[in-house]
Symmetry: C2
Subunit: 178 residues, 2 copies
Protein backbone atom coordinates (compact mmCIF):
# COMPACT_ATOMS: atom_id res chain seq x y z
CA UNK A 1 0.00 0.00 0.00
CA UNK A 2 3.02 2.24 -0.46
CA UNK A 3 1.78 5.51 -1.93
CA UNK A 4 3.22 6.98 -5.09
CA UNK A 5 6.24 9.19 -4.91
CA UNK A 6 5.66 12.85 -4.40
CA UNK A 7 5.62 15.01 -7.49
CA UNK A 8 6.87 18.09 -5.68
CA UNK A 9 10.65 18.26 -5.32
CA UNK A 10 11.88 15.91 -2.69
CA UNK A 11 13.99 17.45 0.00
CA UNK A 12 17.28 16.38 1.46
CA UNK A 13 17.19 14.43 4.65
CA UNK A 14 13.52 13.66 4.43
CA UNK A 15 12.00 10.36 5.34
CA UNK A 16 8.52 11.33 4.28
CA UNK A 17 8.93 11.65 0.55
CA UNK A 18 7.04 8.47 -0.24
CA UNK A 19 3.86 10.05 1.11
CA UNK A 20 1.35 11.96 -0.97
CA UNK A 21 -0.20 13.87 1.86
CA UNK A 22 -0.37 17.48 2.88
CA UNK A 23 0.42 16.56 6.48
CA UNK A 24 3.59 14.82 5.33
CA UNK A 25 4.30 17.82 3.11
CA UNK A 26 3.97 20.18 6.06
CA UNK A 27 6.17 17.96 8.24
CA UNK A 28 8.80 17.91 5.49
CA UNK A 29 9.14 21.66 6.03
CA UNK A 30 8.65 22.03 9.79
CA UNK A 31 8.70 18.50 11.19
CA UNK A 32 12.37 18.23 12.06
CA UNK A 33 13.28 18.24 15.71
CA UNK A 34 13.31 21.83 17.05
CA UNK A 35 11.86 23.44 13.93
CA UNK A 36 8.42 24.12 15.41
CA UNK A 37 9.96 25.39 18.66
CA UNK A 38 12.14 27.80 16.67
CA UNK A 39 9.04 29.02 14.85
CA UNK A 40 7.25 29.35 18.20
CA UNK A 41 10.12 31.47 19.50
CA UNK A 42 9.89 33.86 16.57
CA UNK A 43 6.13 34.09 17.14
CA UNK A 44 6.89 35.06 20.76
CA UNK A 45 9.34 37.75 19.69
CA UNK A 46 12.68 35.96 20.09
CA UNK A 47 14.15 36.83 16.72
CA UNK A 48 17.91 36.82 17.13
CA UNK A 49 20.19 33.83 16.86
CA UNK A 50 21.64 34.19 20.35
CA UNK A 51 18.23 34.72 21.95
CA UNK A 52 16.79 31.64 20.28
CA UNK A 53 19.88 29.57 21.04
CA UNK A 54 19.91 30.61 24.66
CA UNK A 55 16.20 29.93 25.08
CA UNK A 56 16.26 26.48 23.50
CA UNK A 57 19.67 25.51 24.82
CA UNK A 58 20.52 23.64 21.61
CA UNK A 59 23.85 23.38 19.83
CA UNK A 60 24.62 26.38 17.63
CA UNK A 61 25.27 24.21 14.59
CA UNK A 62 21.89 22.49 14.96
CA UNK A 63 20.16 25.86 15.26
CA UNK A 64 22.07 27.17 12.25
CA UNK A 65 20.99 24.14 10.18
CA UNK A 66 17.35 24.50 11.19
CA UNK A 67 17.29 28.26 10.55
CA UNK A 68 18.91 27.80 7.15
CA UNK A 69 16.26 25.29 6.20
CA UNK A 70 13.43 27.53 7.44
CA UNK A 71 14.92 30.40 5.39
CA UNK A 72 15.27 28.21 2.29
CA UNK A 73 11.68 27.07 2.70
CA UNK A 74 10.46 30.63 2.99
CA UNK A 75 9.05 30.19 6.51
CA UNK A 76 11.46 32.78 7.92
CA UNK A 77 13.29 35.72 6.40
CA UNK A 78 16.33 37.66 7.61
CA UNK A 79 16.14 41.37 8.31
CA UNK A 80 18.98 43.76 9.03
CA UNK A 81 18.49 45.37 12.42
CA UNK A 82 21.92 46.97 12.81
CA UNK A 83 24.22 48.30 10.09
CA UNK A 84 27.65 48.57 11.77
CA UNK A 85 28.47 45.77 12.08
CA UNK A 86 25.64 44.20 10.09
CA UNK A 87 23.32 42.15 12.32
CA UNK A 88 20.25 40.23 11.26
CA UNK A 89 17.17 38.95 12.93
CA UNK A 90 14.62 36.36 11.83
CA UNK A 91 11.06 37.25 10.98
CA UNK A 92 8.11 35.13 9.93
CA UNK A 93 7.05 35.43 6.30
CA UNK A 94 3.37 35.11 5.39
CA UNK A 95 4.03 31.39 4.94
CA UNK A 96 5.46 31.30 8.44
CA UNK A 97 2.60 33.34 9.91
CA UNK A 98 0.22 30.84 8.35
CA UNK A 99 1.61 28.25 10.78
CA UNK A 100 -0.26 30.07 13.52
CA UNK A 101 -3.29 27.73 13.45
CA UNK A 102 -0.92 24.77 13.88
CA UNK A 103 0.80 26.55 16.79
CA UNK A 104 -2.52 27.31 18.46
CA UNK A 105 -3.77 23.74 17.98
CA UNK A 106 -0.60 22.25 19.50
CA UNK A 107 -0.66 24.76 22.34
CA UNK A 108 -4.30 24.08 23.21
CA UNK A 109 -3.72 20.33 23.11
CA UNK A 110 -0.64 20.74 25.30
CA UNK A 111 -2.56 22.96 27.72
CA UNK A 112 -5.10 20.19 28.10
CA UNK A 113 -2.90 17.11 28.16
CA UNK A 114 0.54 18.16 29.36
CA UNK A 115 -0.33 20.94 31.80
CA UNK A 116 2.31 22.42 34.04
CA UNK A 117 1.45 22.88 37.70
CA UNK A 118 1.48 26.67 37.51
CA UNK A 119 -0.96 26.84 34.63
CA UNK A 120 -0.33 27.84 31.02
CA UNK A 121 2.84 29.78 30.28
CA UNK A 122 1.13 31.65 27.46
CA UNK A 123 -2.44 32.83 27.08
CA UNK A 124 -3.95 34.26 23.93
CA UNK A 125 -6.22 37.27 23.88
CA UNK A 126 -8.22 39.07 21.21
CA UNK A 127 -6.50 42.46 20.90
CA UNK A 128 -9.71 44.34 20.20
CA UNK A 129 -11.79 43.19 23.16
CA UNK A 130 -9.55 41.14 25.45
CA UNK A 131 -11.59 37.95 24.92
CA UNK A 132 -10.01 34.51 25.11
CA UNK A 133 -9.36 32.47 21.96
CA UNK A 134 -11.44 29.32 21.64
CA UNK A 135 -10.56 26.04 19.92
CA UNK A 136 -11.82 27.33 16.58
CA UNK A 137 -9.82 30.55 16.91
CA UNK A 138 -12.98 32.54 17.51
CA UNK A 139 -13.17 35.14 20.26
CA UNK A 140 -15.01 33.74 23.27
CA UNK A 141 -16.21 37.22 24.18
CA UNK A 142 -17.30 38.84 20.91
CA UNK A 143 -17.38 35.85 18.55
CA UNK A 144 -15.00 37.39 15.99
CA UNK A 145 -13.09 35.06 13.69
CA UNK A 146 -9.46 35.63 14.65
CA UNK A 147 -6.28 35.63 12.61
CA UNK A 148 -2.74 35.88 13.89
CA UNK A 149 -2.73 39.68 13.70
CA UNK A 150 -5.89 39.95 15.81
CA UNK A 151 -4.38 38.10 18.74
CA UNK A 152 -1.86 38.97 21.42
CA UNK A 153 0.17 36.37 23.35
CA UNK A 154 0.47 37.24 27.04
CA UNK A 155 2.47 35.55 29.77
CA UNK A 156 0.18 33.17 31.63
CA UNK A 157 0.20 32.15 35.31
CA UNK A 158 2.76 29.42 34.59
CA UNK A 159 5.30 31.69 32.87
CA UNK A 160 8.73 31.56 34.51
CA UNK A 161 10.35 34.94 35.29
CA UNK A 162 12.69 34.42 32.35
CA UNK A 163 9.85 33.83 29.92
CA UNK A 164 10.34 35.78 26.68
CA UNK A 165 6.97 37.48 27.03
CA UNK A 166 7.77 38.71 30.56
CA UNK A 167 11.16 39.96 29.45
CA UNK A 168 9.56 41.77 26.55
CA UNK A 169 6.94 43.36 28.81
CA UNK A 170 9.67 44.51 31.24
CA UNK A 171 11.68 45.91 28.36
CA UNK A 172 8.70 47.86 27.07
CA UNK A 173 8.07 49.30 30.55
CA UNK A 174 11.70 50.40 30.82
CA UNK A 175 11.30 52.19 27.52
CA UNK A 176 8.39 54.34 28.80
CA UNK A 177 9.24 57.96 29.64
CA UNK A 178 9.44 58.43 33.44
CA UNK B 1 17.16 32.77 29.23
CA UNK B 2 16.90 29.01 29.77
CA UNK B 3 13.43 28.34 31.14
CA UNK B 4 12.84 26.39 34.31
CA UNK B 5 12.56 22.65 34.22
CA UNK B 6 9.17 21.17 33.59
CA UNK B 7 7.27 20.00 36.61
CA UNK B 8 5.49 17.22 34.76
CA UNK B 9 7.45 13.98 34.55
CA UNK B 10 10.19 14.21 31.99
CA UNK B 11 10.11 11.57 29.32
CA UNK B 12 12.85 9.38 27.99
CA UNK B 13 14.54 10.52 24.85
CA UNK B 14 13.20 14.03 25.04
CA UNK B 15 15.17 17.09 24.14
CA UNK B 16 12.43 19.50 25.06
CA UNK B 17 12.21 19.02 28.79
CA UNK B 18 13.85 22.34 29.60
CA UNK B 19 10.89 24.16 28.07
CA UNK B 20 7.83 25.28 29.99
CA UNK B 21 5.53 25.48 27.05
CA UNK B 22 2.44 23.64 25.94
CA UNK B 23 3.77 23.40 22.40
CA UNK B 24 6.90 21.70 23.70
CA UNK B 25 4.68 19.54 25.88
CA UNK B 26 2.63 18.47 22.87
CA UNK B 27 5.77 17.78 20.83
CA UNK B 28 7.12 15.65 23.68
CA UNK B 29 4.19 13.33 23.06
CA UNK B 30 3.74 13.45 19.29
CA UNK B 31 6.79 15.31 17.95
CA UNK B 32 9.03 12.35 17.23
CA UNK B 33 9.65 11.50 13.63
CA UNK B 34 6.70 9.50 12.21
CA UNK B 35 4.44 9.90 15.24
CA UNK B 36 2.08 12.39 13.62
CA UNK B 37 1.96 10.36 10.41
CA UNK B 38 1.04 7.26 12.41
CA UNK B 39 -1.73 9.23 14.10
CA UNK B 40 -2.84 10.50 10.68
CA UNK B 41 -3.04 6.90 9.43
CA UNK B 42 -5.26 5.86 12.31
CA UNK B 43 -7.48 8.89 11.60
CA UNK B 44 -7.75 7.66 7.99
CA UNK B 45 -8.72 4.16 9.09
CA UNK B 46 -5.40 2.31 8.86
CA UNK B 47 -5.45 0.65 12.25
CA UNK B 48 -3.38 -2.50 12.00
CA UNK B 49 0.34 -2.78 12.41
CA UNK B 50 0.96 -4.26 8.95
CA UNK B 51 -1.28 -1.71 7.22
CA UNK B 52 0.47 1.19 8.91
CA UNK B 53 3.91 -0.30 8.30
CA UNK B 54 3.19 -0.95 4.65
CA UNK B 55 1.76 2.54 4.12
CA UNK B 56 4.64 4.37 5.78
CA UNK B 57 7.37 2.03 4.59
CA UNK B 58 9.27 2.37 7.86
CA UNK B 59 11.21 -0.24 9.78
CA UNK B 60 9.03 -2.47 11.93
CA UNK B 61 11.09 -1.80 15.04
CA UNK B 62 10.71 1.97 14.59
CA UNK B 63 6.97 1.60 14.16
CA UNK B 64 6.79 -0.66 17.21
CA UNK B 65 8.66 1.92 19.31
CA UNK B 66 6.43 4.77 18.16
CA UNK B 67 3.22 2.80 18.71
CA UNK B 68 4.36 1.74 22.18
CA UNK B 69 4.98 5.37 23.07
CA UNK B 70 1.62 6.50 21.69
CA UNK B 71 -0.06 3.74 23.74
CA UNK B 72 1.85 4.70 26.90
CA UNK B 73 0.89 8.32 26.36
CA UNK B 74 -2.77 7.41 25.96
CA UNK B 75 -3.01 8.76 22.41
CA UNK B 76 -3.83 5.30 21.03
CA UNK B 77 -5.38 2.19 22.57
CA UNK B 78 -5.31 -1.42 21.42
CA UNK B 79 -8.51 -3.30 20.65
CA UNK B 80 -8.93 -6.99 20.00
CA UNK B 81 -10.44 -7.51 16.55
CA UNK B 82 -9.90 -11.28 16.26
CA UNK B 83 -9.85 -13.88 19.03
CA UNK B 84 -8.16 -16.94 17.48
CA UNK B 85 -5.35 -16.10 17.26
CA UNK B 86 -5.65 -12.82 19.18
CA UNK B 87 -5.11 -9.83 16.91
CA UNK B 88 -5.20 -6.18 17.89
CA UNK B 89 -5.74 -2.93 16.11
CA UNK B 90 -4.98 0.63 17.18
CA UNK B 91 -7.70 3.15 17.88
CA UNK B 92 -7.54 6.81 18.85
CA UNK B 93 -8.50 7.61 22.42
CA UNK B 94 -10.25 10.90 23.21
CA UNK B 95 -6.79 12.36 23.76
CA UNK B 96 -5.81 11.14 20.30
CA UNK B 97 -9.02 12.40 18.71
CA UNK B 98 -8.27 15.79 20.23
CA UNK B 99 -5.25 15.98 17.90
CA UNK B 100 -7.70 16.50 15.06
CA UNK B 101 -7.37 20.32 15.07
CA UNK B 102 -3.59 19.91 14.78
CA UNK B 103 -4.04 17.45 11.91
CA UNK B 104 -6.41 19.81 10.10
CA UNK B 105 -4.10 22.80 10.60
CA UNK B 106 -1.08 20.90 9.24
CA UNK B 107 -3.11 19.55 6.33
CA UNK B 108 -4.49 22.94 5.34
CA UNK B 109 -1.02 24.49 5.56
CA UNK B 110 0.39 21.64 3.47
CA UNK B 111 -2.43 22.01 0.92
CA UNK B 112 -1.47 25.64 0.51
CA UNK B 113 2.31 25.46 0.59
CA UNK B 114 3.33 21.97 -0.49
CA UNK B 115 0.61 21.16 -3.01
CA UNK B 116 0.88 18.06 -5.17
CA UNK B 117 0.18 18.49 -8.86
CA UNK B 118 -2.99 16.43 -8.78
CA UNK B 119 -4.59 18.43 -5.99
CA UNK B 120 -5.20 17.44 -2.39
CA UNK B 121 -5.17 13.72 -1.58
CA UNK B 122 -7.76 14.21 1.14
CA UNK B 123 -10.71 16.59 1.38
CA UNK B 124 -12.84 17.13 4.45
CA UNK B 125 -16.59 17.41 4.34
CA UNK B 126 -19.28 18.18 6.91
CA UNK B 127 -21.21 14.89 7.21
CA UNK B 128 -24.53 16.58 7.78
CA UNK B 129 -24.61 18.89 4.76
CA UNK B 130 -21.57 18.09 2.58
CA UNK B 131 -20.04 21.52 3.09
CA UNK B 132 -16.29 22.07 3.04
CA UNK B 133 -14.32 22.68 6.25
CA UNK B 134 -12.82 26.15 6.54
CA UNK B 135 -9.65 27.22 8.36
CA UNK B 136 -11.54 27.65 11.63
CA UNK B 137 -13.14 24.20 11.30
CA UNK B 138 -16.50 25.78 10.56
CA UNK B 139 -18.68 24.48 7.76
CA UNK B 140 -18.40 26.73 4.70
CA UNK B 141 -21.95 25.83 3.69
CA UNK B 142 -24.02 25.93 6.88
CA UNK B 143 -21.64 27.66 9.31
CA UNK B 144 -21.72 24.88 11.91
CA UNK B 145 -18.82 24.59 14.32
CA UNK B 146 -17.29 21.21 13.48
CA UNK B 147 -15.65 18.57 15.64
CA UNK B 148 -13.91 15.44 14.48
CA UNK B 149 -17.09 13.36 14.59
CA UNK B 150 -18.95 15.84 12.36
CA UNK B 151 -16.48 15.53 9.52
CA UNK B 152 -15.75 12.87 6.93
CA UNK B 153 -12.39 12.55 5.12
CA UNK B 154 -12.83 11.75 1.43
CA UNK B 155 -10.23 10.93 -1.19
CA UNK B 156 -9.39 14.11 -3.09
CA UNK B 157 -8.38 14.56 -6.74
CA UNK B 158 -4.74 13.91 -5.86
CA UNK B 159 -5.33 10.58 -4.10
CA UNK B 160 -3.30 7.73 -5.60
CA UNK B 161 -5.23 4.52 -6.40
CA UNK B 162 -3.65 2.89 -3.35
CA UNK B 163 -4.79 5.66 -1.02
CA UNK B 164 -6.28 4.25 2.20
CA UNK B 165 -9.51 6.17 1.68
CA UNK B 166 -9.98 4.77 -1.83
CA UNK B 167 -9.24 1.25 -0.61
CA UNK B 168 -11.73 1.67 2.18
CA UNK B 169 -14.38 2.98 -0.23
CA UNK B 170 -13.78 0.00 -2.56
CA UNK B 171 -13.99 -2.40 0.37
CA UNK B 172 -17.28 -0.90 1.53
CA UNK B 173 -18.71 -1.24 -1.99
CA UNK B 174 -17.66 -4.88 -2.14
CA UNK B 175 -19.45 -5.45 1.15
CA UNK B 176 -22.81 -4.19 -0.20
CA UNK B 177 -25.38 -6.87 -1.00
CA UNK B 178 -25.63 -7.41 -4.77
Amino acid sequence: MQLNRLTWPSMLGSDYEGQICSIAGALEVVGERWSLLIVRNVFLGLRRFDEIQSNLGIARNVLHTRLTRLLEQGVLEKRLYQEHPPRYEYRLTEKGLDLWPTMVALMQWGDRYTPSSGGPAVVLEHRACGGAVDEHRLCEACGASLSVRDVRALPGPGAAPEHPLLRRAAHQQDAQPA
